[in-house]
């Protein structure tokens, strides 16, 4: 896809610069002339939305850092000061805290898009893996950021998550003490978390550059999954997709603004408005909504070490997905069985999120009462276990097997043909050309 450059410098200065640092050429080839499949739907706008999210978080974050005080005695008060006394501090703070949620909403949609249309399959494995690295960095950044306001959830969330690593040091405390910089979550912890929270977004930005670079080598996938075959299949990125992405970004901003201006605390937890108190454990310790599915997986396993391994495993498994899925058909449009398992996978992730928010011992529904008169029935723990099993089963059993037994539907001969309604040129059956 990264064919010969068509950039021609027009002025003396750009000609001069082009021979020394072809940066304008890079921008032109990447975002102006870049040949893009002409059939991309709105699910493809989330990459651009994510870029905007990152920039938003960095800009608001840098402003917040000018007023925030990373000290256990002043952190909570400094956030209050930002919300009350810093001019438009309430605006910047609300954008940053809700922006994290918007970022995750977009990244999850972006990833489900990739799962449905098979964007992880050859030749996009490296692109996909870089995306997985981005996801993990995002989670780390968001977790570190949530600790900074030093409310009850900040403190206890940090305590719970850092204690997970105690599963690996046999109870000696070597790892946790090293992470904390002391013998409990304290001022040293807050300072290092602040330092890392400031650092990681820039590493993220670096990995995103690699991600987009990888994209521009192999080119976009598209809803048919059929590879680009000729110029007739594509349009230049600008103005076709700049205008479409802009439209989608503005729609996304409308949703974002509804949260920021009309329900800024709807996604947060009330307990984080109580200053951190190491002597008082909250009734319930729950992470932010976007980490709940992983929290549910952690708690679904009775053994701590295995639970931690399952939780990290649920992320790491994404890295090898390109080699787990044996089907050569990319888009699930043409995979009549797989698309059902995909729908169940999305539901499974939402249910895991629900389980993560609820007490594992509480009942989803009641079936009877025990001898002492307590209600018995189907608990959230059971629901979490079933869904954890499906989560791993989807990657480890369903996708590997399905590719071998499923008969895909006929795919269009090309993107151009699919757009024009000409179908079924590549005859049905499993006789497929290398990945399409």
């Amino acid at each position: 896809m990264s064919g010969p450059s068509t950039y021609e410098p027009k002025t003396g200065f750009t000609r001069w610069l082009d021979q020394r640092l072809p940066i304008v050429r890079l921008g032109y080839d990447s975002f102006v002339d870049f040949p893009t499949p002409k059939n991309l739907n709105y699910w493809w706008t989330f990459g651009g939305i994510l870029m905007v999210c990152l920039v938003t978080q960095i800009v608001t974050g840098v402003v917040l850092a000018m007023h925030y005080v990373p000290h256990v005695d002043y952190a909570f008060a400094s956030v209050q000061r930002i919300e009350r006394d810093v001019p438009f501090g309430w605006l910047v703070q609300n954008i940053h805290s809700n922006g994290a949620s918007m970022f995750f909403l977009a990244v999850y949609i972006h990833m489900f898009r990739g799962l449905y249309y098979g964007s992880y399959k050859p030749p996009r494995e490296v692109l996909w893996i870089l995306g997985c690295v981005i996801l993990i960095l995002m989670m780390a950044t968001a977790f570190l950021g949530y600790v900074l306001p030093w409310g009850q959830m900040s403190f206890w969330g940090a305590t719970v998550i850092t204690n997970l690593f105690a599963a690996f040091d046999g109870g000696t405390g070597i790892i946790t003490n090293w992470l904390w910089g002391g013998f409990s979550v304290g001022n040293a912890t807050l300072n290092r978390f602040y330092s890392l929270h400031y650092l990681l977004p820039f590493i993220l930005a670096g990995v995103i550059i690699l991600h987009v670079w990888a994209l521009h080598v192999v080119g976009n996938n598209n809803p048919t999954g059929v590879s680009v075959k000729s110029r007739a299949d594509t349009v230049p990125f600008h103005p076709y997709y700049t205008v479409k992405d802009s439209f989608a970004i503005v729609l996304f901003f409308i949703l974002f603004a509804i949260f920021v201006f009309f329900m800024p605390n709807a996604l947060g937890h009330a307990d984080n408005f109580i200053p951190a108190n190491p002597l008082s454990t909250p009734a319930e310790i729950v992470p932010e909504w976007y980490l709940l599915p992983f929290y549910a997986i952690l708690r679904a396993i009775p053994n701590k070490l295995l639970g931690v391994i399952a939780m990290f495993g649920s992320l790491l498994i994404l890295f090898i997905l390109p080699w787990l899925d044996t089907s050569r058909v990319r888009s699930m449009r043409y995979r009549p069985i797989a698309r059902w398992f995909f729908v169940f996978f999305v539901i499974c992730c939402l249910l895991l999120g629900w389980c993560g928010a609820r007490n594992p011992d509480h009942l989803v529904f009641q079936t009877g009462v025990d001898a002492e008169g307590h209600a018995t029935g189907f608990t959230f723990l059971m629901l979490a276990r079933i869904n954890t099993a499906y989560y791993f089963g989807y990657f480890l059993i369903i996708l590997p097997l399905l590719g071998l037994i499923e008969t895909p539907k006929a795919r269009p001969a090309s993107i151009d043909a699919s757009v024009l309604g000409g179908r079924k040129v590549s005859s049905s059956g499993a006789a497929v050309q290398p990945a399409e």
């Binding site: 709105y42 309430w90 999850y108 809803p223 103005p239 996304f252 996604l267 999120g353």
Partner: protein
């Protein structure tokens, strides 16, 4: 299965894609909010839902109610509860109870100055190093009723009256919860025994709260002659606490409308451009 299949193919058909996108965003949002609501804690009675005129996207505060609410805080609650993140000047800032257009700088607002001067705060030590006191200025924070946590607990049977600056944000059901708590004291049911020094309140987690019913009828005499029923006082002080937790709420909503109007027009513009740019491309 059939219905699902049709929904699926619609969701991924070219015509259905915008609808599907919108639906995803909305379900995700609704799901997330459902989760937040589901987190509300266990055994206490669910607070009564009250119709607040400051709630909702168009809601605004009633200045008179904010002033009455501040009067309640000052005359009743402040003997036990501090509000450390509020300063007297906040009372006279835009959106505050005593904002006055003639004195855009709250430090010049005579009402605010008088309210502050009525309060005594710790001053600089004198030449001998002995502690002094002085009248507060608008720049001072609301003083804490107790010098230390230990003294606060000593005066309250071992319980700690929490700071009220952000109490509305710090409780599930915010304003409704605090209103229900303030008016919801009851005789304990027969099978519940309440230790002396505690009071039965079904809205409080556990049911036994160390705060005596703070708002008996006619507890204060309102400056504006409103009748001081328990419910009236509770409504007023809660409105004040809501403002205190989020003093820029009105400005935030006002800006929100401008932003939404702007974004809608911009979306329209991009939509038209999109249609024009793509008009000759089958896609």
């Amino acid at each position: 299965m059939k219905v699902w299949g049709r929904m699926m193919s619609k969701a991924f058909s070219r015509r259905g894609r915008i609808a599907a996108l919108a639906a995803t965003l909305i379900t995700a949002t609704a799901g997330v909010m459902g989760l937040a609501a589901a987190q509300a804690a266990g055994d206490a009675r669910t607070p009564e839902h009250h119709h607040w005129h400051f709630a909702g996207p168009f809601g605004t505060f009633d200045r008179a109610a904010l002033q009455r609410g501040y009067q309640i805080y000052r005359e009743v609650c402040s003997s036990c509860h501090g509000m450390q993140y509020l300063h007297f000047r906040n009372l006279g800032e835009p959106g505050g109870p005593y904002y006055d257009e003639e004195h855009p700088n709250a430090n010049d607002n005579p009402v605010v100055r008088a309210i502050a001067a009525d309060t005594t705060v710790a001053g600089e030590p004198d030449d001998f190093g002995d502690p002094t006191t002085r009248p507060a200025t608008p720049a001072d924070a609301f003083p804490n009723p107790f010098a230390t946590e230990g003294m606060a607990r000593l005066a309250n049977g071992g319980a700690l009256p929490p700071d009220l600056s952000v109490i509305v944000s710090a409780r599930h059901h915010g304003a409704d919860y605090i209103r229900s708590l303030l008016i919801g004291y009851e005789e304990p049911p027969e099978d519940v025994t309440i230790r002396p020094g505690l009071y039965y309140n079904p809205y409080f987690p556990g049911g036994a709260i160390a705060m005596a019913p703070p708002l008996p009828e006619e507890r204060v005499t309102y400056a504006d002659d409103t009748e001081a029923t328990t419910e009236q006082m509770a409504n007023d002080v809660v409105e004040f606490l809501v403002w205190a937790a989020d003093p820029h709420q009105e400005a935030r909503k006002r800006m929100g409308f401008m932003v939404l109007i702007y974004l809608t027009l911009l979306a329209l513009l991009f939509w038209i451009s999109y249609k024009v740019v793509w008009r000759n491309v089958a896609h």
